[in-house]
Protein backbone atom coordinates (compact mmCIF):
# COMPACT_ATOMS: atom_id res chain seq x y z
CA UNK A 1 0.00 0.00 0.00
CA UNK A 2 1.25 3.47 -0.90
CA UNK A 3 2.24 5.76 1.95
CA UNK A 4 -0.12 8.70 2.38
CA UNK A 5 1.27 12.23 2.35
CA UNK A 6 0.98 14.64 5.27
CA UNK A 7 -1.62 16.65 3.40
CA UNK A 8 -3.72 13.55 2.82
CA UNK A 9 -3.50 12.66 6.51
CA UNK A 10 -4.86 16.07 7.38
CA UNK A 11 -7.59 16.33 4.77
CA UNK A 12 -8.81 12.74 4.78
CA UNK A 13 -10.87 13.01 7.96
CA UNK A 14 -12.52 16.32 7.11
CA UNK A 15 -14.63 15.22 4.19
CA UNK A 16 -13.69 12.13 2.18
CA UNK A 17 -13.52 9.90 5.25
CA UNK A 18 -15.56 12.09 7.56
CA UNK A 19 -15.94 10.15 10.83
CA UNK A 20 -19.67 10.81 11.11
CA UNK A 21 -20.93 11.33 7.57
CA UNK A 22 -18.88 8.63 5.86
CA UNK A 23 -17.66 6.23 8.53
CA UNK A 24 -20.90 6.70 10.51
CA UNK A 25 -19.06 6.59 13.84
CA UNK A 26 -19.73 8.58 16.99
CA UNK A 27 -23.46 8.70 16.50
CA UNK A 28 -24.32 8.96 20.19
CA UNK A 29 -23.28 12.62 20.59
CA UNK A 30 -24.27 13.36 17.00
CA UNK A 31 -27.86 12.41 17.73
CA UNK A 32 -28.08 13.45 21.36
CA UNK A 33 -26.62 16.93 21.79
CA UNK A 34 -27.02 18.56 18.39
CA UNK A 35 -30.30 20.32 19.23
CA UNK A 36 -28.64 23.74 19.12
CA UNK A 37 -25.65 25.15 17.26
CA UNK A 38 -23.96 26.16 20.50
CA UNK A 39 -24.22 22.69 22.05
CA UNK A 40 -23.00 21.08 18.83
CA UNK A 41 -20.06 23.41 18.57
CA UNK A 42 -18.94 22.96 22.17
CA UNK A 43 -19.32 19.20 21.93
CA UNK A 44 -17.33 19.25 18.68
CA UNK A 45 -14.54 21.32 20.17
CA UNK A 46 -14.36 19.17 23.32
CA UNK A 47 -14.12 16.00 21.23
CA UNK A 48 -11.54 17.68 18.98
CA UNK A 49 -9.37 18.56 21.98
CA UNK A 50 -9.63 15.07 23.45
CA UNK A 51 -8.83 13.47 20.10
CA UNK A 52 -5.83 15.73 19.54
CA UNK A 53 -4.41 15.16 23.03
CA UNK A 54 -4.97 11.41 22.92
CA UNK A 55 -3.45 10.97 19.46
CA UNK A 56 -0.42 12.98 20.49
CA UNK A 57 0.25 10.96 23.61
CA UNK A 58 -0.59 7.58 22.10
CA UNK A 59 1.78 8.09 19.18
CA UNK A 60 4.42 9.54 21.52
CA UNK A 61 4.34 6.59 23.92
CA UNK A 62 3.50 3.83 21.44
CA UNK A 63 6.92 2.21 21.85
CA UNK A 64 6.43 1.82 25.60
CA UNK A 65 2.88 0.47 25.50
CA UNK A 66 2.85 -3.36 25.39
CA UNK A 67 0.46 -4.70 22.80
CA UNK A 68 -1.49 -6.76 25.36
CA UNK A 69 -2.70 -3.77 27.34
CA UNK A 70 -2.75 -1.13 24.63
CA UNK A 71 -6.53 -0.66 24.74
CA UNK A 72 -6.49 -0.12 28.51
CA UNK A 73 -3.74 2.43 28.21
CA UNK A 74 -5.50 4.23 25.33
CA UNK A 75 -8.70 4.40 27.33
CA UNK A 76 -6.78 5.70 30.34
CA UNK A 77 -5.21 8.45 28.22
CA UNK A 78 -8.56 9.31 26.60
CA UNK A 79 -10.39 9.31 29.94
CA UNK A 80 -7.83 11.66 31.44
CA UNK A 81 -8.31 14.14 28.63
CA UNK A 82 -12.09 13.83 28.82
CA UNK A 83 -12.08 14.56 32.54
CA UNK A 84 -9.82 17.55 32.04
CA UNK A 85 -12.06 18.74 29.20
CA UNK A 86 -15.13 18.36 31.38
CA UNK A 87 -13.62 20.42 34.20
CA UNK A 88 -12.50 23.10 31.75
CA UNK A 89 -15.96 23.32 30.22
CA UNK A 90 -17.58 23.58 33.62
CA UNK A 91 -15.22 26.39 34.53
CA UNK A 92 -15.41 28.26 31.21
CA UNK A 93 -18.92 27.70 29.78
CA UNK A 94 -21.03 26.44 32.71
CA UNK A 95 -24.35 26.92 30.93
CA UNK A 96 -23.35 24.74 27.98
CA UNK A 97 -21.74 22.24 30.33
CA UNK A 98 -25.12 21.92 32.05
CA UNK A 99 -26.91 21.46 28.74
CA UNK A 100 -24.52 18.74 27.54
CA UNK A 101 -24.80 16.88 30.83
CA UNK A 102 -23.56 13.30 30.78
CA UNK A 103 -22.55 13.43 27.13
CA UNK A 104 -19.25 15.11 27.93
CA UNK A 105 -18.18 12.19 30.11
CA UNK A 106 -19.37 9.88 27.34
CA UNK A 107 -16.70 11.25 24.96
CA UNK A 108 -14.57 8.49 26.54
CA UNK A 109 -16.53 5.88 24.63
CA UNK A 110 -16.77 7.87 21.40
CA UNK A 111 -15.47 5.30 18.94
CA UNK A 112 -14.04 8.00 16.67
CA UNK A 113 -11.36 8.63 19.26
CA UNK A 114 -10.46 5.04 20.08
CA UNK A 115 -10.72 4.26 16.36
CA UNK A 116 -8.13 6.87 15.41
CA UNK A 117 -5.75 5.60 18.15
CA UNK A 118 -5.98 2.01 16.91
CA UNK A 119 -6.05 2.77 13.20
CA UNK A 120 -3.54 5.58 13.05
CA UNK A 121 -1.79 6.96 16.12
CA UNK A 122 -0.52 3.54 17.25
CA UNK A 123 1.31 3.03 13.95
CA UNK A 124 2.42 6.48 12.83
CA UNK A 125 4.72 9.30 13.88
CA UNK A 126 3.62 12.00 16.30
CA UNK A 127 3.47 14.62 13.56
CA UNK A 128 1.27 12.52 11.26
CA UNK A 129 -0.96 11.44 14.15
CA UNK A 130 -1.56 15.04 15.14
CA UNK A 131 -2.46 15.91 11.55
CA UNK A 132 -4.79 12.94 11.38
CA UNK A 133 -6.42 13.93 14.68
CA UNK A 134 -6.90 17.50 13.50
CA UNK A 135 -8.52 16.26 10.28
CA UNK A 136 -10.88 13.84 12.00
CA UNK A 137 -11.66 16.36 14.72
CA UNK A 138 -12.53 19.04 12.19
CA UNK A 139 -14.62 16.51 10.30
CA UNK A 140 -16.52 15.76 13.51
CA UNK A 141 -17.06 19.47 14.24
CA UNK A 142 -18.30 19.93 10.67
CA UNK A 143 -20.82 17.11 10.99
CA UNK A 144 -21.97 18.36 14.40
CA UNK A 145 -22.46 21.87 12.98
CA UNK A 146 -24.49 20.54 10.03
CA UNK A 147 -26.76 18.67 12.42
CA UNK A 148 -26.97 21.52 14.93
CA UNK A 149 -27.70 24.24 12.36
CA UNK A 150 -30.47 22.29 10.67
CA UNK A 151 -32.08 21.31 13.95
CA UNK A 152 -31.87 24.70 15.62
CA UNK A 153 -33.03 26.65 12.57
CA UNK A 154 -36.02 24.39 12.02
CA UNK A 155 -36.72 23.44 15.62
CA UNK A 156 -36.37 26.84 17.31
CA UNK A 157 -36.35 29.20 14.32
CA UNK A 158 -33.05 30.63 15.58
CA UNK A 159 -29.33 30.38 14.79
CA UNK A 160 -26.99 30.62 17.79
CA UNK A 161 -30.00 32.03 19.64
CA UNK A 162 -30.66 34.80 17.09
CA UNK A 163 -34.26 34.66 15.78
CA UNK A 164 -34.39 34.23 12.00
CA UNK A 165 -38.01 34.17 10.95
CA UNK A 166 -39.89 36.54 13.23
CA UNK A 167 -42.87 35.74 15.45
CA UNK A 168 -45.04 34.16 12.77
CA UNK A 169 -42.74 31.12 12.53
CA UNK A 170 -44.14 28.09 14.29
CA UNK A 171 -41.12 25.97 15.37
CA UNK A 172 -41.07 22.28 14.49
CA UNK A 173 -40.56 21.12 18.04
CA UNK A 174 -39.91 17.55 16.88
CA UNK A 175 -36.58 18.64 15.38
CA UNK A 176 -35.07 19.48 18.76
CA UNK A 177 -36.45 16.33 20.39
CA UNK A 178 -34.59 13.01 20.02
CA UNK A 179 -36.54 11.91 16.89
CA UNK A 180 -35.38 15.10 15.17
CA UNK A 181 -31.79 13.92 15.53
CA UNK A 182 -32.55 10.70 13.66
CA UNK A 183 -34.56 12.55 10.98
CA UNK A 184 -31.81 15.12 10.43
CA UNK A 185 -29.02 12.56 10.28
CA UNK A 186 -31.08 10.44 7.88
CA UNK A 187 -31.74 13.38 5.59
CA UNK A 188 -28.08 14.45 5.62
CA UNK A 189 -26.80 10.94 4.86
CA UNK A 190 -29.41 10.47 2.11
CA UNK A 191 -28.52 13.77 0.47
CA UNK A 192 -24.80 13.06 0.58
CA UNK A 193 -25.37 9.55 -0.76
CA UNK A 194 -27.53 10.87 -3.58
CA UNK A 195 -24.99 13.55 -4.53
CA UNK A 196 -22.21 10.97 -4.52
CA UNK A 197 -24.25 8.62 -6.71
CA UNK A 198 -25.01 11.38 -9.20
CA UNK A 199 -21.37 12.36 -9.34
CA UNK A 200 -20.34 8.76 -10.01
CA UNK A 201 -23.00 8.42 -12.76
CA UNK A 202 -21.79 11.66 -14.36
CA UNK A 203 -18.23 10.42 -14.31
CA UNK A 204 -19.24 7.14 -15.97
CA UNK A 205 -21.26 8.89 -18.68
CA UNK A 206 -18.44 11.37 -19.28
CA UNK A 207 -16.02 8.49 -19.69
CA UNK A 208 -18.28 6.66 -22.15
CA UNK A 209 -18.80 9.90 -24.09
CA UNK A 210 -15.03 10.26 -24.34
CA UNK A 211 -14.75 6.74 -25.63
CA UNK A 212 -17.38 7.40 -28.29
CA UNK A 213 -15.66 10.58 -29.43
Amino acid sequence: MRKSTAQEDLLRGIWRENPVLVQVLGLCPTLAVTNTVENSLVMGIATFAVLLGSSFFVSLFKRFIPNEIRISVYILIIATFVTVAEMCLEALVPEVHKALGAFIALIVVNCIILGRQEAFAAKNTVWRSVLDAIGSGLGFILAMLMMGSLREVIGYGTFLGIPLFGDSYEPWVVMILPPGGFLTLGVILLTLGYVEERRRANRVSAMSAQERA
Binding site: P66, E68, L76, T83, V84, M87, C88, A91
Partner: protein
Amino acid sequence: MSDPATLHDTAHAVPPPPLTQDVSTVKLVFTLVFAGVIAGVLLVFAFHATLPAIEAHKAEVLRAAIGEVLKGPARYETLYVLPEGISATLPSGAREKDFEKVFYGFDAQDTPIGFALVAMGPGFQDQIKLIFGFDPRAGRLLGIKVLESKETPGLGDKIEKDASFRTQFEGIAAPLLGVKKGEKSAENEIEMITGATISSRAVVRNLNQAVTRLQPLLLAYLDAQAKVGTTQEESNPKATASTPNRVVPVDADLRSAAP
Protein backbone atom coordinates in the same frame (compact mmCIF):
# COMPACT_ATOMS: atom_id res chain seq x y z
CA MET B 1 -13.71 -34.44 13.95
CA SER B 2 -13.64 -36.26 17.25
CA ASP B 3 -12.02 -39.21 15.56
CA PRO B 4 -8.83 -39.95 17.50
CA ALA B 5 -6.93 -40.69 14.30
CA THR B 6 -7.62 -37.21 12.93
CA LEU B 7 -6.60 -35.64 16.16
CA HIS B 8 -3.41 -37.59 16.16
CA ASP B 9 -2.71 -36.71 12.53
CA THR B 10 -3.10 -32.99 13.00
CA ALA B 11 -1.02 -33.07 16.12
CA HIS B 12 1.64 -34.94 14.25
CA ALA B 13 1.56 -32.69 11.17
CA VAL B 14 1.70 -29.33 12.95
CA PRO B 15 3.27 -29.29 16.39
CA PRO B 16 1.52 -26.68 18.50
CA PRO B 17 3.72 -23.62 19.07
CA PRO B 18 4.99 -23.33 22.62
CA LEU B 19 3.05 -20.80 24.66
CA THR B 20 5.32 -17.83 24.89
CA GLN B 21 4.78 -14.64 26.76
CA ASP B 22 6.33 -11.69 24.93
CA VAL B 23 6.04 -9.30 27.82
CA SER B 24 6.31 -10.21 31.46
CA THR B 25 3.31 -9.67 33.69
CA VAL B 26 5.40 -7.38 35.85
CA LYS B 27 5.97 -5.09 32.90
CA LEU B 28 2.26 -5.02 32.04
CA VAL B 29 1.30 -4.17 35.60
CA PHE B 30 4.06 -1.61 35.87
CA THR B 31 3.04 0.13 32.66
CA LEU B 32 -0.59 0.38 33.72
CA VAL B 33 0.28 1.60 37.20
CA PHE B 34 2.68 4.17 35.79
CA ALA B 35 0.11 5.44 33.29
CA GLY B 36 -2.49 5.56 36.05
CA VAL B 37 -0.26 7.58 38.35
CA ILE B 38 0.54 10.10 35.61
CA ALA B 39 -3.14 10.41 34.73
CA GLY B 40 -4.00 10.89 38.40
CA VAL B 41 -1.43 13.63 38.86
CA LEU B 42 -2.67 15.43 35.74
CA LEU B 43 -6.26 15.24 36.98
CA VAL B 44 -5.35 16.66 40.38
CA PHE B 45 -3.71 19.65 38.67
CA ALA B 46 -6.67 20.19 36.35
CA PHE B 47 -9.08 19.89 39.28
CA HIS B 48 -7.27 22.50 41.32
CA ALA B 49 -6.92 24.79 38.34
CA THR B 50 -10.62 24.77 37.53
CA LEU B 51 -12.16 24.47 41.01
CA PRO B 52 -12.20 28.20 41.94
CA ALA B 53 -14.00 29.14 38.71
CA ILE B 54 -16.54 26.34 39.13
CA GLU B 55 -17.27 27.17 42.78
CA ALA B 56 -17.47 30.88 42.03
CA HIS B 57 -19.95 30.24 39.26
CA LYS B 58 -22.14 28.05 41.45
CA ALA B 59 -22.17 30.67 44.21
CA GLU B 60 -22.91 33.37 41.64
CA VAL B 61 -25.82 31.39 40.18
CA LEU B 62 -27.28 30.88 43.65
CA ARG B 63 -26.81 34.53 44.60
CA ALA B 64 -28.43 35.69 41.36
CA ALA B 65 -31.32 33.29 41.89
CA ILE B 66 -31.88 34.51 45.46
CA GLY B 67 -31.78 38.08 44.22
CA GLU B 68 -34.31 37.29 41.55
CA VAL B 69 -36.89 35.49 43.70
CA LEU B 70 -36.64 38.01 46.54
CA LYS B 71 -36.82 40.96 44.11
CA GLY B 72 -33.38 42.35 44.77
CA PRO B 73 -32.63 42.15 48.51
CA ALA B 74 -29.90 44.43 49.87
CA ARG B 75 -28.47 41.51 51.82
CA TYR B 76 -29.43 38.04 52.95
CA GLU B 77 -28.59 35.70 55.78
CA THR B 78 -27.99 32.00 55.31
CA LEU B 79 -29.95 29.88 57.80
CA TYR B 80 -29.78 26.14 58.31
CA VAL B 81 -32.66 23.72 58.64
CA LEU B 82 -31.63 21.60 61.63
CA PRO B 83 -33.70 18.73 63.03
CA GLU B 84 -34.81 20.91 65.95
CA GLY B 85 -35.68 23.94 63.82
CA ILE B 86 -34.19 26.70 61.75
CA SER B 87 -31.05 28.27 63.10
CA ALA B 88 -28.48 30.81 61.99
CA THR B 89 -25.64 28.82 63.50
CA LEU B 90 -24.58 25.25 62.94
CA PRO B 91 -24.10 22.88 65.87
CA SER B 92 -20.38 22.53 66.52
CA GLY B 93 -18.67 19.94 64.38
CA ALA B 94 -21.44 19.86 61.79
CA ARG B 95 -20.58 20.39 58.17
CA GLU B 96 -22.35 23.11 56.22
CA LYS B 97 -22.98 20.80 53.25
CA ASP B 98 -25.08 18.35 55.26
CA PHE B 99 -27.94 20.72 55.93
CA GLU B 100 -30.65 22.26 53.82
CA LYS B 101 -30.31 26.01 53.69
CA VAL B 102 -32.85 28.82 53.56
CA PHE B 103 -31.96 32.40 52.78
CA TYR B 104 -33.46 35.29 54.73
CA GLY B 105 -33.47 38.47 52.65
CA PHE B 106 -33.61 42.09 53.81
CA ASP B 107 -34.10 45.30 51.81
CA ALA B 108 -32.00 48.47 52.04
CA GLN B 109 -33.87 49.64 55.21
CA ASP B 110 -33.12 46.24 56.79
CA THR B 111 -36.79 45.30 56.70
CA PRO B 112 -37.23 41.56 56.12
CA ILE B 113 -38.49 40.77 52.61
CA GLY B 114 -38.92 37.04 52.99
CA PHE B 115 -37.15 33.76 52.61
CA ALA B 116 -35.66 32.12 49.54
CA LEU B 117 -36.38 28.39 49.76
CA VAL B 118 -35.31 25.50 47.59
CA ALA B 119 -37.97 23.03 46.47
CA MET B 120 -36.96 19.80 44.81
CA GLY B 121 -39.19 17.05 43.49
CA PRO B 122 -39.93 14.82 40.53
CA GLY B 123 -40.84 16.45 37.22
CA PHE B 124 -41.62 14.82 33.89
CA GLN B 125 -38.11 13.55 33.16
CA ASP B 126 -36.03 14.05 36.28
CA GLN B 127 -35.97 16.05 39.48
CA ILE B 128 -36.88 19.70 39.14
CA LYS B 129 -34.99 22.01 41.48
CA LEU B 130 -36.69 25.31 42.12
CA ILE B 131 -35.86 28.28 44.28
CA PHE B 132 -38.71 30.52 45.37
CA GLY B 133 -39.23 33.61 47.49
CA PHE B 134 -41.71 33.13 50.32
CA ASP B 135 -43.23 35.33 52.98
CA PRO B 136 -44.27 32.90 55.73
CA ARG B 137 -46.44 35.38 57.70
CA ALA B 138 -48.59 36.23 54.69
CA GLY B 139 -48.23 32.74 53.24
CA ARG B 140 -47.44 34.28 49.86
CA LEU B 141 -44.88 33.44 47.20
CA LEU B 142 -42.72 36.28 45.94
CA GLY B 143 -41.35 34.69 42.77
CA ILE B 144 -39.86 31.44 41.47
CA LYS B 145 -36.87 30.39 39.44
CA VAL B 146 -35.93 26.97 38.09
CA LEU B 147 -32.41 26.03 39.16
CA GLU B 148 -32.18 22.61 37.53
CA SER B 149 -34.51 20.66 35.28
CA LYS B 150 -34.30 18.18 32.44
CA GLU B 151 -37.82 18.80 31.13
CA THR B 152 -38.54 18.20 27.43
CA PRO B 153 -36.89 20.91 25.31
CA GLY B 154 -39.50 23.08 23.64
CA LEU B 155 -42.37 21.82 25.81
CA GLY B 156 -41.62 21.15 29.48
CA ASP B 157 -38.73 23.59 29.60
CA LYS B 158 -41.26 26.40 29.26
CA ILE B 159 -41.51 26.27 33.05
CA GLU B 160 -38.11 27.99 32.89
CA LYS B 161 -38.44 29.97 29.71
CA ASP B 162 -42.08 31.09 29.61
CA ALA B 163 -42.10 34.38 31.53
CA SER B 164 -45.91 34.54 31.64
CA PHE B 165 -45.96 31.24 33.51
CA ARG B 166 -43.33 32.31 36.01
CA THR B 167 -44.85 35.71 36.78
CA GLN B 168 -48.07 34.04 37.91
CA PHE B 169 -46.26 32.95 41.06
CA GLU B 170 -45.43 36.48 42.17
CA GLY B 171 -47.56 37.43 45.17
CA ILE B 172 -49.77 34.35 45.03
CA ALA B 173 -51.01 32.75 48.26
CA ALA B 174 -50.17 29.12 49.04
CA PRO B 175 -51.43 26.43 48.70
CA LEU B 176 -51.46 26.73 44.95
CA LEU B 177 -53.87 25.01 42.61
CA GLY B 178 -53.13 24.27 38.96
CA VAL B 179 -55.92 24.91 36.43
CA LYS B 180 -56.17 24.78 32.64
CA LYS B 181 -55.21 27.83 30.66
CA GLY B 182 -57.93 30.46 30.68
CA GLU B 183 -59.83 28.91 33.58
CA LYS B 184 -58.33 30.88 36.40
CA SER B 185 -61.15 31.80 38.77
CA ALA B 186 -59.62 32.04 42.23
CA GLU B 187 -56.67 33.94 43.56
CA ASN B 188 -54.48 30.96 44.35
CA GLU B 189 -54.84 29.31 40.94
CA ILE B 190 -52.03 28.92 38.43
CA GLU B 191 -52.72 28.46 34.73
CA MET B 192 -50.86 25.43 33.35
CA ILE B 193 -48.78 25.65 30.18
CA THR B 194 -50.51 24.02 27.24
CA GLY B 195 -48.41 21.03 26.14
CA ALA B 196 -46.48 21.01 29.39
CA THR B 197 -49.21 20.11 31.86
CA ILE B 198 -47.17 17.49 33.71
CA SER B 199 -44.17 19.79 34.15
CA SER B 200 -46.40 22.69 35.27
CA ARG B 201 -48.24 20.48 37.73
CA ALA B 202 -44.92 19.22 39.06
CA VAL B 203 -43.85 22.80 39.75
CA VAL B 204 -47.06 23.54 41.64
CA ARG B 205 -46.85 20.28 43.59
CA ASN B 206 -43.20 20.78 44.54
CA LEU B 207 -43.88 24.33 45.68
CA ASN B 208 -46.84 23.24 47.80
CA GLN B 209 -44.82 20.46 49.40
CA ALA B 210 -41.97 22.80 50.25
CA VAL B 211 -44.37 25.34 51.73
CA THR B 212 -46.13 22.72 53.86
CA ARG B 213 -42.82 21.40 55.10
CA LEU B 214 -41.00 24.67 55.76
CA GLN B 215 -43.69 27.23 56.66
CA PRO B 216 -44.16 26.03 60.29
CA LEU B 217 -40.38 26.00 60.78
CA LEU B 218 -40.05 29.50 59.34
CA LEU B 219 -42.88 30.83 61.51
CA ALA B 220 -41.29 29.27 64.58
CA TYR B 221 -38.01 30.91 63.66
CA LEU B 222 -39.65 34.32 63.15
CA ASP B 223 -41.54 34.03 66.46
CA ALA B 224 -38.31 33.21 68.26
CA GLN B 225 -36.58 36.15 66.57
CA ALA B 226 -39.45 38.52 67.47
CA LYS B 227 -39.31 37.40 71.10
CA VAL B 228 -35.60 38.03 71.19
CA GLY B 229 -36.09 41.40 69.50
CA THR B 230 -38.72 42.68 72.00
CA THR B 231 -36.84 41.51 75.05
CA GLN B 232 -33.77 43.15 73.73
CA GLU B 233 -35.51 46.49 73.17
CA GLU B 234 -36.92 46.43 76.71
CA SER B 235 -33.62 45.63 78.30
CA ASN B 236 -31.56 47.88 76.08
CA PRO B 237 -33.66 50.60 74.46
CA LYS B 238 -30.69 52.28 72.78
CA ALA B 239 -29.91 49.27 70.66
CA THR B 240 -32.11 49.70 67.61
CA ALA B 241 -30.39 47.59 65.03
CA SER B 242 -30.04 44.09 66.40
CA THR B 243 -26.65 42.67 65.74
CA PRO B 244 -25.98 38.97 66.12
CA ASN B 245 -23.42 39.76 68.85
CA ARG B 246 -26.12 41.38 70.98
CA VAL B 247 -28.63 38.65 70.39
CA VAL B 248 -26.55 36.01 72.07
CA PRO B 249 -26.33 37.45 75.62
CA VAL B 250 -30.03 38.39 75.58
CA ASP B 251 -30.88 34.89 74.53
CA ALA B 252 -28.80 33.60 77.45
CA ASP B 253 -30.70 35.94 79.81
CA LEU B 254 -34.00 34.61 78.58
CA ARG B 255 -32.96 31.06 79.17
CA SER B 256 -31.75 31.75 82.72
CA ALA B 257 -34.93 33.71 83.50
CA ALA B 258 -37.18 30.90 82.36
CA PRO B 259 -38.24 28.58 85.20
